[in-house]
Symmetry: C2
Subunit: 390 residues, 2 copies
Amino acid sequence: MYAERVAGLKSSAIREILKITARPEVISFAGGLPAPELFPVKDISDAAQKLFLKYGSTVLQYSITEGILPLREKIASGFHSDTGTIGADNVLITQGSQQGLDLLSKLFIDKGSVIFTENPSYLGALQSFQLFRGDIVPIASDENGIRPNDLLERLRRKRPALLYLMPNFQNPSGSSLSLERRRKLIEIVSSHDLIVIEDDPYGELLFKGERLPSLFALGGSRNFIYMSSFSKTVAPGLRVAYVLADEEIISKLVIIKQGTDLQTNTIGQYLVDEYLESGKYFTHIENLRKMYALRRDCMLSAMKRHFPEAVTWNCPSGGMFLWVKLPEGEDARRLLDRCLRRNVAFVPGQEFFPDGSGENTIRLNFSNASIEKIEEGIGRMGEVMRETFL
Amino acid sequence: MYAERVAGLKSSAIREILKITARPEVISFAGGLPAPELFPVKDISDAAQKLFLKYGSTVLQYSITEGILPLREKIASGFHSDTGTIGADNVLITQGSQQGLDLLSKLFIDKGSVIFTENPSYLGALQSFQLFRGDIVPIASDENGIRPNDLLERLRRKRPALLYLMPNFQNPSGSSLSLERRRKLIEIVSSHDLIVIEDDPYGELLFKGERLPSLFALGGSRNFIYMSSFSKTVAPGLRVAYVLADEEIISKLVIIKQGTDLQTNTIGQYLVDEYLESGKYFTHIENLRKMYALRRDCMLSAMKRHFPEAVTWNCPSGGMFLWVKLPEGEDARRLLDRCLRRNVAFVPGQEFFPDGSGENTIRLNFSNASIEKIEEGIGRMGEVMRETFL
């Protein structure tokens, strides 16, 4: 009765954990939610009022599949001026980045197509590739992102339809691709003429120092497709994200999007556009960076005080996630069961590894909980760890 | 470089015509746009204000894939009380009906799966089925919808993965499936245990008499999946539509939607919910029905006065489209070229026929243009017809 692709379909473990964390007594580091108390509610509400006066029924009518022009122009000029040559025709507005992945899967993936990913990699991307029956091949990755030598090794045996990367503050590991590796990667990609999806929802959430240039800016639109989103910077409920690519790819994605959902919601696009127009975006981002850095620091400090010595973690310079390693041989899922009894939740890292490794890893979200809850929740996790490992 | 499905991909002729009709001097009967001057702009704007005060950041945050609960409850109880047994768990909110088609294609269609459709059928559905490489088999259809005898004939040779129907005021033909045929169809579907998608975006736009019961209400959720939308009744730019089905199908669609776009935009869902809550929906629909009936009548009257006798048309009792037949042997595309030179546009019907027939047919939209423009545009079309055929 169902299509073949349905046989392997299962709800992600994260979604199942999130159902438990909906209970108010649970302190959750499990979701990937931005902090709602930092949303610019008043400014978006004001923007909504302005919109209806300024554009009237246009805000409610069908609009073009590509996305509204003023927003595409702002994205091309304001956010990616370092890329030089791109214009509105290189931009497609999508219904969240997850839709960007769906459209790109439709464009590039046949049953059995090989997709190279980091190991671990973003679960939503893996789900999308699996829906189109792609064959996911993980490439060894570490604190500085994907390892160029392992990529070269794999390329000797297989040619992928796509290489999928999240080079800034990766979900789940928080790792970032170093500048040196970006340069090496571009050489490899160019000499093998690969297609790379650079997924960058967290790039704006940089806590310190200078932002590394995107692969798209360094390597060009022949081989690179860039994706970002306003979900982590303005508000996820608006579902406004975008793909940057060369015009041929954008025009094919537009036809695919016609058959997928016709267009991204008009009102969300106008709200983001009006909010950018107001000039409040940049102070807002500064504030987000400060607040998220503070929460990260609280989490790091609490872990240092509460976690046993055998447990280690990284210190991402941005984004929303920390990555924790339990001692070899420990099972994060077993730890989760015990933590849930103490009303604290996280996501076991194994879920994110296409090769099924990472049994002893944990993803912790630091953007959503208050600093009080971070202290309390990490404290409880530390107690459970001591009971379990020691 | 691209997936196999991309080879046959082309932008729909309608989208191409719509680019021409964006010029303000063109009178267009080509699009399928609701009348923007009838959108409840003030009420939606008021609803937006209320929402931010009432729910605050919730309106901007991620929400569950199924769709927000109060809206699903309203849909289950208010709109489909005749179906008796359905509840919120039988409802999935989608990003417009086009996304409903995308999700259902993912659930049911493999490469080469057979899909039975009306002939002509809705272009957006055909595009979605083609993206998933389904094999479309048109069933003979007339003014009363699909012909049960032809369906039976086809079933002797092939078993379809899906039967796709638009039983009320079909896009493009304006035809409706008669009650007698609904009953016959349900017998056939039940005895062959088929899966039917009942796509009903126009059912609320009934100008006179009583609404026919849905196939879903008559036949039940074992074999029928129902789709409708707020695009034609409230506003298309919000992108809020829904699928009704049995709980097993809904739960599979939810997992598929997670990998497709995570969720429908939160703000659009709350706006529709708040608008329904305000109680203004029903008077609004009454007004829409009156205004669209008036436009249909103007178009019918103008055609009678301006079109040559050899041209015939139907009189749909609702919806947004009329269906015109030119004399046998005439080509509507050639007529369109001539009409565009006189700044009036329509869609040649052939586009909608999976079997490539219908060369002499035309779809006319009567919901979008004012009565003055309808009179003027039909007049110009009549002149061109007289020059061409006589």
